[in-house]
Subunit: 395 residues, 2 copies
């Protein structure tokens, strides 16, 4: 194939469009930017010697996260997976329960369910949000569950479906109004996996603040990073207190005694990592602006290419555009691997959506509804370079 | 009471002895020292932008930990609790098993057992090491268990006792020869909780390298710190590979695909924390020397005080002297709270041993042997200021 011919394939056109926006490359999928007080706060942390479980940056990070998201309380934890584990536990998920989880998600959402001894129950996706398809879920619950003593029972398994965990994929808010209504109607706790959606808003309100609890991740590939880190958001003061207690070994406060009243966890965010988080949070508005600008540039570049579309934020939502995402037309799904190959070969890191949860060996036997849209999406989605630093003038 | 009278009480004498060694105070129980390349490596880490799950400091920290301890492999993880969880899982501990754990330990040892769905079974302490009393354990197992198909079954509960977790309390190595023999004789996996004993040696070999696996902690209060962190030590390459896999979400290596073949965990140590660890590890020999010198100074100061003794390393062992520890004579146990009160009031942070595990609400119903020595010790032990920085000339 000549260079000219390569240019004319879908893969070739996509690589050209990426190059047009981000330059010659190479470009990572998502790398962090440290252009603010990161250095200063890390040094302050080291100089204070309070790098670990005690220190002012943890408190400050929690306050500033609450302020930024509008949640009444934020509890900083060691990562987004730990945040999900504790949020599900506090939502009442116990051994033998089922929890509704999108099939199209990062594996942590499903893993956290199993940490509670519960079983993930996989649900289909909505092409408009990439998150749970609310209408399809309602129909499914109507025909497959019944209410017994105000609990939602899966008729097939006999198990209680205790909660649902919508996930805001790549930063795009799900249809929360309808999912909250379903949670109410079917007696399900709603925990938002907002790991990917810091800075994303649904109808003007920050994602992660709608359900009983919401969880964030500050992993290195996220919009802002603490190295590793996460948080639990909630408007319920008692849940916040309990989350703090469980994530800090459930130790009772005492001047010298070591006494614990529950089985707790060491899910603390170290002060060192919180220091990085405080500096990153100061940069967040600028990062979000850069990522939005990157979306606009990609949109212009991909407009002319037939067979592929750049995913835009849902109606009445603001997305943080964490990962920019291409959706191949259904009849171009067979081009996906060629696009991945060509772009990665050209130094532009791209990747497909995650393997669906029910396709993974540990979850093969888990209950699930028809997953045709999730299946279709998982064959057609491609994430492309998304770092805020790709718009250097904006950060 | 006059100052002179206070001076003459045991509490008064102990406060004076501490002051004699560490100066006017205040003195924390244990604070870290950052006198080496901490700053440099953190900056290098930030400048590289690799602060999270990928980066050279994690690999380097693992190699250097293996080198320092003499373990064939070290797997860095997010903290000592996570290390224990995974080590127990890899030792074959599953739901409904029992695991032998000292009653006198930090709660994480027992918690980690429950994370596997197993039940801690509490065993008594040896006054010579503060760890598991091997002779008493052997008698107990002989009379309370039987072998069925090469498994150790607790006759009372009918459950399999799968493993034992000796813990090297305050840095003092337990009687490993005898415990290894018991593990062999009764078909138990032996996992060492070496959270407190980095730099401690039993018969010339580093603690944590005797059992199937050993676990370390780099919490802020430990001999060296990564903010939060831990490691799994093992001489078995396959266990090391599996530990790495399970602690990094069990993702299969692939250029772009996200596929996981087991239920995994996000127990990664971030590169940022590993950077701190690499710098701290360089300081470790100096810290150990300082802590040993501090022991000598305390020993001189406490020699003359009747009714209390400073704990020294067991025979043929080198302790890291993580926490310097006083043991009140049995007939002075009633003075303990007065000592704690007086020393903390004077600005010298001291604390008693942990509440025993079976005294905590979540473990009240767990099986246990006679715990009379653990009970006696828990009423008589007092940790006193132990930072390496209290011997500033040595670090
Ligand atoms: C959807 C989703 N849930 C949960 C997580 C887990 O977060 P963490 O990696 O901080 O444990 C992530 C990110 O990795 C994620 O993308
Ligand atoms: C005996 C013991 N085991 C386990 C741990 C757990 O380590 P971490 O705090 O790093 O989770 C600690 C320290 O806190 C400990 O002292």
């Amino acid at each position: 194939m000549t260079a000219m011919q390569a240019q004319n394939t879908l893969a070739g056109q996509i690589v050209s469009a990426i190059r047009e926006v981000v330059g010659a490359g190479p470009a990572m999928l998502h790398e962090p930017s440290f252009n603010g007080n990161e250095w200063l706060y890390l040094k302050e942390c080291l100089d204070s010697t309070f790098v670990s479980s005690v220190g002012k940056f943890v408190d400050r990070f929690e306050l500033e996260l609450a302020e930024f998201t509008g949640a009444k309380h934020a509890v900083a934890v060691v990562n987004g997976t730990a945040a999900l584990h504790i949020a599900l536990k506090l939502a009442g998920v116990t051994a033998g329960d089922e929890v509704l989880v999108p099939a199209l998600t990062f594996v942590a959402t499903a893993n956290a369910v199993t940490y509670c001894g519960a079983i993930p129950h996989f649900v289909d996706s909505d092409v408009a949000t990439l998150g749970i398809d609310a209408a399809k879920l309602r129909d499914y619950l109507l025909s497959h569950t019944e209410q017994r003593a105000n609990q939602c029972v899966n008729r097939a398994s006999g198990r209680i479906i205790r909660a649902m965990v919508p996930m805001h994929a790549f930063g795009h808010p799900v249809n929360l109004d309808e999912l909250l209504a379903i949670a109410r109607d079917f007696n399900l706790a709603l925990v938002e996996d907002a790991a990917e959606s810091l800075g994303s808003y649904y109808h003007g309100r920050h994602t992660g603040t709608f359900g009983l609890m919401g969880t964030l991740s500050f992993n290195g590939n996220k919009t802002i990073t603490t190295g590793g880190g996460g948080a639990i958001l909630t408007n319920d003061v008692e849940l916040a207190r309990h989350a703090k207690h469980l994530t800090t070994t459930a130790k009772l406060p005492h001047r010298w005694e070591y006494r614990h009243d529950e089985i707790g966890y060491n899910y603390r965010l170290p002060n060192l990592n919180a220091a990085l988080g405080c500096a990153q949070l100061e940069q967040l508005p600028r990062m979000l602006a850069a990522k939005r600008e990157l979306f606009c540039r990609y949109q212009a570049a991909f407009m002319q290419i037939a067979g592929v579309k750049l995913i835009a934020e849902p109606d009445q939502c603001l997305s943080n555009y964490w990962l920019q995402t291409l959706l191949l037309d259904a009849e171009r799904a067979d081009q996906r691997d060629r696009v991945l190959q060509a772009s990665n070969d050209a130094g532009f890191m791209t990747r497909p959506a995650w393997a669906l949860m029910h396709q993974l060996a540990p979850f093969e036997e888990c209950p699930r509804m028809d997953l045709s849209m999730a299946l279709s999406l998982s064959r057609r989605l491609i994430n492309i370079p998304s770092s805020a630093s790709l718009v250097p003038d904006a950060i």
